[in-house]
Structure formats: C-alpha cells, structure tokens
C-alpha cells in the first residue's frame, strides 16, 4: 500500500465517519421532533386562546420592534402590531436613527407627542432622543422611541431599558404576525411550576409569494422564485424538526431574532444584547442559558411550532450570500465567546451536547464539506481515486439529504398543512431534489466566505435590502 492510498483511505474514512454521525443526529432529530410536535398539537387542539385575550392576569409583555428606514410601511406595520390579541401588552417601536421620515409619519398617523420619560440605563446604550405616546386613548399601548443610530442590538437594549413589563418580545417590524401569536408565545412561561422559562421561540415562515394585505396574511402560497422556495423548505426543516427536537431536549441554542420572547429580568442580569457580534440573537440565548447554568437554577428554553410569524426571505443570491455570511460569523463569534462550555460537564447538557453539536455540525460542517470536496477533486485530478466509489459516496449523502427533506415535507403536511395545493407540495419536493445542486453549494460557499471575512475581522453588518412586504405581488 503506497502512502498516497493510505492518506486517501484515512481521509475517506474520516469524512465517512463524520457524515454517518451527522446522519444519525438527523435521524434522531427527525424522530424526536415528530413526538414533540405531535404532543404539542394534541395539547393545544382544544385550547381556546381567545378566551384569555382580554385577561389582565396574563403575563405582561412588551413588544420591541426596531425600525431602521422602514418608513415605506411603518404605519401599517404598527397597526398590525397593535391589533394583536393581547390585553396586557405594550408595543415599543424603536426608531434607530432612521434617515427617512419614519418618525414624522408615526407622529402624524398616531397623534403622538413627546413625554417626559426617565430611561433607566440598566444596560448601557446609545442616547435616547425622545419617547412618544399617543393622545388617542385607543393607541395607549403604543410607545415610540427615537434614538441615535446604534444597530439592532443597541436598539433592542434601549427597548429593554424602557419596557415596563415582565417579558419582552423581540420582532422584526416588517414581519407579519398571526393575531394570537402573543397568547401562544406567553403560554410556555406559565406551564412549568418547577422550572424558570427564560425564553420562548417561535417558528418563522417565508412570506414571499403570500398574499398580504395591510400587514395581515390573507393566503399562503409557495414562493414562485427558486431561492425563496428552497428557503421555505429549509425553514420547515430547521424549525419543525430541528428546533422542536432541541427544545424537547431542553438544549435549544437559537431563538430567531425575528420572533422570540424573553424573561426581561434575566436579560438585564445578563447585560442585554451584545452589540459586538453580528449574531446577537443566538449570542443572547447562549448567554442566558450559561447564566442560569452558573446559578444552578432549573430553567427551560421553550419553543412552539405554530406558524405565527411570516417574514420575507432574500430573493437574490447577493443578499442571501450576505445573510449567510453574517449567520456564519454570528455562530463563530458566539461559540468563541462561550468556549469555556465546550465539553464542560458543569454546564450539563448545554456544555456536553448543545455546544459541541453546534461546533461540529453547524460551524464545522461547511468547512468539512468544502475541504472534503476540494481534496477529492485534487486527488481525482491526479488520478488517485476510484471515481465510481466517489460518486457512490456522493449519491449516498445526497439520497439521505433528499429523504430528510421529504420527511420534513411530510411533517408539514401532517401538522400545519399551510400549502393546500397538491401542486405546491409537489413543487416543494422537486425543490428538495434540486437544492443540493443549486442552493446548497452556494450556502456552503457563503459560509466559507463568512469564515474568511471573520479571519480578516470584517465586522460590518451585511446590509439587507428588503423588497417591502406590501409591494404588489402576484394576484
């Protein structure tokens, strides 16, 4: 046996072992999550949430919605937030130094005036220029905060300082929420007498292609463009399977910044959102968990699978690339800040399973894939590999991926069944087939670029230009 074949065999087996471990994780996630979703659906099938909408006994919540140059749709977005069914809440719009006329528009539409307000700087932030409330009693739940530009994390921290309620709900101002979203999000905080629930996450769904009117979802359609369509599939996989399984294990590390609720007291004790990372949403959850582990108090991060929040996904490769690049950097930064937990038994499940999983299969996966592919190709060029074996391996991985996607589609159909037309579902399955050829390599490449950028210390926030939700879409 020559040394080349030895190296090659060693390499092949390493890659193979890695893939098989990852596949086993996926199989576990698939099975474990379906139990969790099933249980949740049974539990909630006869809960009438609306009875509680008027209750004053429900936990008090503050919705925090940072807005930066959202003037185009801000009036409608705020109206839709105000029409959420929940009595015990306030809606705080954080105008993060917008350069457009967002603030003027809000003042005019909601009859706002500046009030004297003492901002308790529990978390240090950029300066608050003014706090506004409405003269109209119907809008008394609305608070608009004008502040100097400081980025999303800073805006949210200002919101935490100003919020007077026990829980904060962080959302993107332009996402479309179902009207009982808050009732459902509040429930997990009240269900565990022996655990402190420090956060609840919700599902994000893709709104591209859906009919939206005045900030409300009228009809769900599968996006027609390829990129949003793959992301629809990707989100179903990630939320319905991935996060559901992790929350059942009580090992969930990520609550999307677009829709999640947090225990304000713990957020403040942890020092709020970290504006030094581009992944402030993941970083906060990890820090809160770490804090609770260090306190040795029983706690839980919950997750609910209902499709409650709809948001627009990037439709161009350029913006998608930036987004994934940013996610990668956020993940790495978060892992780096909290590396003390890596296989550290004093952090329990968090240190022994969640963190290592993220390290090996979220952070390393694209790198392993990229390096593996490159090496195979180099070996191939030098005629050192058995091509048929290579393709069999590739097909093996591909088929598994396809199967996993199909399973996700099955779960969606059996549970929430948002895409009613057979055509849409067939389309989704075709997308599952195409994803590994078109979408996946691009995502891996963006992640690699994220790694490179981070090494070069490029910290800028990939700007995300949105299309605007109420811009005319089909039909």
């Amino acid at each position: 046996m020559s040394w080349q074949t030895f190296v090659f065999d060693f390499f092949t087996y390493a890659i193979l072992a890695y893939s098989v471990t990852l596949m086993s994780c996926y199989i576990f996630i698939g099975i474990y999550s379906s139990g969790a979703v099933n249980n949740y659906l049974h539990k909630n099938s006869f809960t009438d949430y609306r009875i509680l909408a008027g209750s004053t006994q429900t936990p008090s919540m503050s919705i925090l919605a940072p807005a930066y140059n959202e003037g185009a749709n801000i009036i409608e977005n705020v109206r839709s937030l105000l029409s959420i069914y929940y009595n015990n809440m306030e809606v705080i719009i954080l105008n993060d130094g917008s350069k457009d006329d967002s603030l003027e528009k809000l003042i005019a539409a909601y009859d706002l005036y500046k009030i004297d307000f003492f901002v308790n700087q529990q978390i240090h932030t950029k300066k608050v220029r003014g706090v506004y409330k409405s003269r109209n009693h119907v809008y008394r739940k609305l608070i608009v905060v004008d502040k100097e530009n400081g980025g999303k994390a800073d805006a949210l921290n200002v919101g935490v300082n100003i919020a007077k309620n026990d829980y904060i709900v962080c959302i993107d101002v332009d996402c479309v929420l179902e009207q009982d979203a808050l009732l459902k999000l509040a429930k997990p905080f009240l269900e565990y007498p022996n655990h402190r629930v420090i956060a609840t996450g919700g599902v994000i769904r893709i709104a591209n292609g859906c009919e939206i009117e005045n900030g409300r979802l009228i009809k769900v359609h599968l996006p027609e463009q390829f990129l949003p369509r793959v992301q629809t599939l990707e989100y179903i996989r990630a939320f319905l399977l991935g996060r559901m399984a992790w929350s059942r294990l009580n090992g969930l590390l990520l609550i999307s910044g677009a829709f999640g609720a947090f225990d304000k007291e713990i957020v403040i004790k942890c020092g709020g959102y970290n504006h030094k990372t581009v992944g402030e949403d993941m970083e906060l959850v990890v820090r809160m968990r770490r804090y609770m582990e260090e306190l040795k108090q029983p706690y839980k991060v919950a997750f609910i699978p209902d499709p409650l929040c709809w948001t627009e996904a990037p439709a161009s490769f350029k913006i998608l690339g930036r987004q994934r690049n940013r996610w990668t950097r956020g993940t790495i930064e978060t892992l780096r800040f909290h590396k003390i937990m890596f296989f550290n038994p004093s952090y329990g499940l968090l240190g022994m399973i969640s963190y290592p999983y993220w390290f090996f299969f979220e952070f390393l996966a694209p790198i392993v894939e990229f390096v593996g592919m490159s090496v195979f190709i180099i070996f191939g060029i030098f005629g050192l590999i058995n091509w048929s074996f290579f393709f069999i391996l590739l097909a093996f991985v591909f088929c598994f991926g396809f199967l996993y996607s199909i399973f996700a589609v099955l779960m969606e159909v059996l549970t929430y069944h948002q895409y009613k037309q057979q055509k849409d579902i067939a389309n989704l399955m075709l997308t599952a087939f195409l994803e590994p050829f078109i979408f996946h390599p691009f995502v891996v490449w963006s992640a690699i670029k994220g790694n490179i950028d981070l090494l070069r210390k490029k910290n800028a926030w990939g700007e995300m230009t949105r299309q605007g939700l109420s811009s005319p879409k089909k039909k």
């Binding site: 049974h42 209750s55 003492f118 308790n120 009240l190 088929c399 069944h417 057979q422």
Partner: protein, 353 residues
C-alpha cells in the same frame, strides 16, 4: 475497505423510503382535499341546523333534523365536525338558545361519544371529552368528572378542574382541598377567568387553601383574596409573608396591597430591609397605593437606594400619596440632578394624565 456494495444498498433503501413517503404524501393530500370540499357542504348543513336550533321555540318537541343530517351522522368525521360546531355555538349564546343547543346535542346522542371518550386510554381524548361535557353543561356527569381533578395527566386534570368550576362556581373550587399536583400559572389564569362569569357569594375555603402544603394552591388562594377583596383574611395573608417560598411571599405582598388596613404599610416597611430585591420592589409598588403621609420619611430614604428601579417607584409612590408627598420629593436635595430631575419629570407627567 468498506465495500461499495453496502452503500448501494443504503442508497436503494433511502430512495425506497423517500418514494413511499412521497406516495403517502400525495395520497394523503388527495384525500384531505376531497374531505375539504365535503367540509364546505358540512358547514352549510351544520350552520343551518344550529341556526334552526338557536331560534327554535316549541319547548316540548324535538328539534327537527333532516334525513341528510341523520344519515351523515353515521360518518365519524361529520359527527366530530358537527359536535365542534355545536360547542362553538354553545360558547357564544346563552338563555333559551343555549338550552336548545344542549337539547340538540342530547337529541343526537352525541353525549354517548363523549362518555366513551372519558374511558379512553389516550389522555387527549379523555381531556377533550371532559371539556365537551363541561361546555354542554351536563352536570349529571359531575361525579365521573370530579375524579379526574387530581389525575396524573396534566391536561386531563386541568380540564376536569375547569369543568367542576364551570358547573358549581366557587363551590367547585373544593378540589383545591385535596389536589396534590401543582396548579400551573396558566391553569390559575383559566380558573380565574372561568370564575369571572359567576358572581361571588362570600365563598368558603380560602383560609384553608392559604395553609395548603401545595404552594401553588397557596398562590392561587392569594390571588383569590385580592381578586375578591377578602379583607377579613388580612392576618392570614400576613402569615404568608413568612413563607419560605419566594412566589408565595411575592403574591402575599401584592395581595396585601388590595386588602390593606391602617397597619399594612407599617408592616410591609418592617419587612423591607431583610427582603429579597424582588420583594423589595413589590413592596414599594404596593406602597404607591397604600402609603400615607406617615410613610414619607421611609420613601424619601429609599430615593437613595442603590437600585434605580426602587428609586423610581419610591418617587412615584411619594407623588401619589399627597401634595405633601410630592412636595417632599421635589425638595429632595438632589431633585435637580440626574437621575432625579428626569424621574420627577416623568412622575409629574404621569400625575397629569
């Protein structure tokens, strides 16, 4: 070296499973879409029947049910659908209309299925059956349902507790005497919500619940005390202040704010120094409503508290006591410095609204 043969086998296995899942999904959707179309017809049928029932006026007779409905009832999906619609309607109407819906429900023998559900092994079917009997107001099944109020399954237990309260109002709360499982916050909210519909008649039991070994029962009892202003229980609530359970103590502080006597503020102030920061904040918040001029010195002292939130609430309490309180706040030695200048501005602003 692993032989490629195994991989090919695995590939075929994956493909086979994927294809069968695809087939399953497509067939499932086909059937589901078909039943959706049927459901539109059912909706019309059910709505018509329910409307007829709501406005039915012959007291003695049966509500006329068309042959088509009777036939369709043999199909389980339709039966479940109609039951659901009846439940929805029953929740929305009262008086003779509600009685008619109940009559229709019984006339169609739908209660038999709910009774069978009570015996089902699966917890969610059991819980659902309890809810159904409760919404329909079938008090004759009380004893059957009462047994479930301390059931090991959380959902079953919750629905049974709600049902008993729905049937018997405050008297139904007697399950609190024996319940050994925790009453979750969610369940407490639902119970309080259920009780809101019933006028309270100085119901008995709170005193016993305040001493329950089940801490969640104590918490719930404290909420009842404040919700129904049971002033006579003041001393028992004060007793709860000494409880080691943080939640009990917190709720006791809040409840005292609703049933206070001339002594209460002095009592809470006495507890203040040794209290947990969370309880300190709760005490200050309560003082906003119950403090008198006598408490001004204490509150002024708290303006120097290290916790800024306590400063703010102490200032707010001062402003709310009396003109004298507000004056003493504005004469504070640091009144013109940060943060007091802003705190005072906000507090004054709030007074003006």
């Amino acid at each position: 070296m692993i032989r490629p043969y195994y991989f090919i086998l695995a590939i075929f296995f994956f493909i086979l499973v994927a294809l069968s899942l695809i087939a399953f999904i497509l067939i499932y959707m086909y059937l589901r879409n078909k039943s959706t179309k049927k459901q539109q017809k059912w909706t019309v049928m059910a709505n018509l029947l329910i409307r007829k029932a709501i406005f039915f006026e012959e007291i003695e007779d049966d509500i006329p049910v068309t042959l088509r409905v009777q036939q369709s009832l043999k199909q389980t999906p339709f039966r479940k659908f109609l039951t659901n619609e009846l439940l929805k309607a029953k929740k929305n109407v009262s008086g003779s209309a509600a009685e008619n819906i109940k009559q229709l429900y019984l006339q169609l023998n739908l209660n038999q299925y709910a009774l069978a559900g009570l015996k089902n092994r699966r917890w969610y079917l059991k819980a659902q059956a309890i809810q159904e009997l409760s919404v329909m107001g079938l008090k004759e099944y009380l004893t059957k349902i009462y047994r479930f109020t301390n059931n090991a399954n959380e959902l079953v237990r919750m629905e049974a507790q709600i049902a008993i309260v729905n049937f018997y109002g405050f008297e139904g709360l007697r399950f609190l005497d024996v319940v050994s499982y925790p009453i979750t916050e969610w369940q407490q909210i639902k119970l309080l919500q259920e009780l809101l519909r019933i006028s309270p008649d100085n119901f008995k039991g709170i005193e016993k619940w305040l001493k329950s070994p089940n801490k969640t029962v104590v918490v719930f009892a404290l909420k009842l005390v404040r919700g129904y202003h049971r002033f006579e229980l003041h001393d028992s609530v004060v007793g709860c202040l000494a409880d080691a359970d943080k939640q009990v103590k917190l709720q006791a502080i809040i409840s005292l704010g609703e049933i206070y006597t001339a002594e209460t503020s002095r009592l809470l102030i006495g507890q203040f120094l040794s209290a947990h920061p969370k309880h300190q904040l709760a005490i200050i918040k309560v003082l906003q409503n119950i403090a008198t001029d006598d408490d001004i010195p204490f509150l002024l002292q708290q303006l120097d508290h290290e916790n800024v939130e306590i400063k703010l609430f102490a200032a707010r309490a001062l402003a709310n006591i009396s003109a004298k309180g507000l004056e003493s706040l504005m004469n504070h030695k640091q009144a013109l410095q940060y943060p007091f200048i802003e705190i005072i501005a906000q507090v004054k602003n709030e007074l003006a609204i």
